[in-house]
Symmetry: C2
Subunit: 118 residues, 2 copies
DNA sequence: CTCATTACTTACATTTTAGTCAGTACTTAA
DNA sequence: TTAAGTACTGACTAAAATGTAAGTAATGAG
């Protein structure tokens, strides 16, 4: 939960007003958001498939991160009226438009992080 | 302070191993780091100049963020043996190499954040 | 009637990040 | 001797992010 009036939150919001970079980083900066976005770049995935692709995330956190990405307009959540349930997550156009940027960020990391698994 | 063995930290480190994107985002993701990096893209600045450019940050936090950027090899801290003290912060080559990426992130944000101050 | 399947939710605990406020060290200038 | 300037540091508090463990709902298959 977010106190609307904490200095922390006020600072965040103020920074967003004149720093597009900070705004973007806030959208993609959650612990598992890079993994989620990366996985969805190849096409939509069901909730269970996301879990398989990102095995270390707990369900609670996965759901939280998905909800935030949805709220921020980067992914859509499509629920099929079936039993057992089926829910598909997919990048929106805005989400897709991040692709070159995400690749750029990824490349920088691959080039500069300290050795191993490069 | 960071507990080296919390699930949180273990997850962070594990993710870094196969996700350059997450690694990069961790380096530049602090509350004031985008501002600091952005300011330093135009050349080196003294501590007091950084404070002027980023008026809302508290001194303690500013120092913390600078220390982290230094530890991660993105900036250098140059101390002159003078009184009153003079300390200059400057991007390293690695820091400079982020420029195109940072501009890309910034541009995406400027284009996609909800109206105003665009 | 019981079980399996899927996509969650809830209550709680822990860890990490950010912020506040006061104080320090050193030297020169008045 | 006192004050000014610069770049901090330390003790403390608050807020946000992340993680754990258990439980839920709907329905079709056996």
């Amino acid at each position: 939960m977010r106190k609307e009036s904490s200095t922390n939150t006020l600072n965040r919001n103020k920074i967003h007003l004149n720093c597009g970079m900070a705004y973007t980083l806030d959208l993609i900066g959650g612990r598992w958001k890079p993994n989620i976005l990366w996985a969805l770049l190849d096409g939509k995935l069901r909730y269970s498939e996301l879990k398989k692709v990102i095995p270390d995330v707990s369900e609670r956190i996965l759901v939280l991160q998905l909800r935030e990405l949805e709220k921020d307009g980067l992914i859509t959540r499509l629920v099929y009226a079936e039993v057992p349930p089926r829910v598909e997550y997919e990048l929106t156009n805005d989400g897709q438009s991040m692709k070159p940027m995400l690749e750029c960020i990824s490349d920088w990391g691959d080039k500069h992080r300290p050795e191993k698994t490069k």
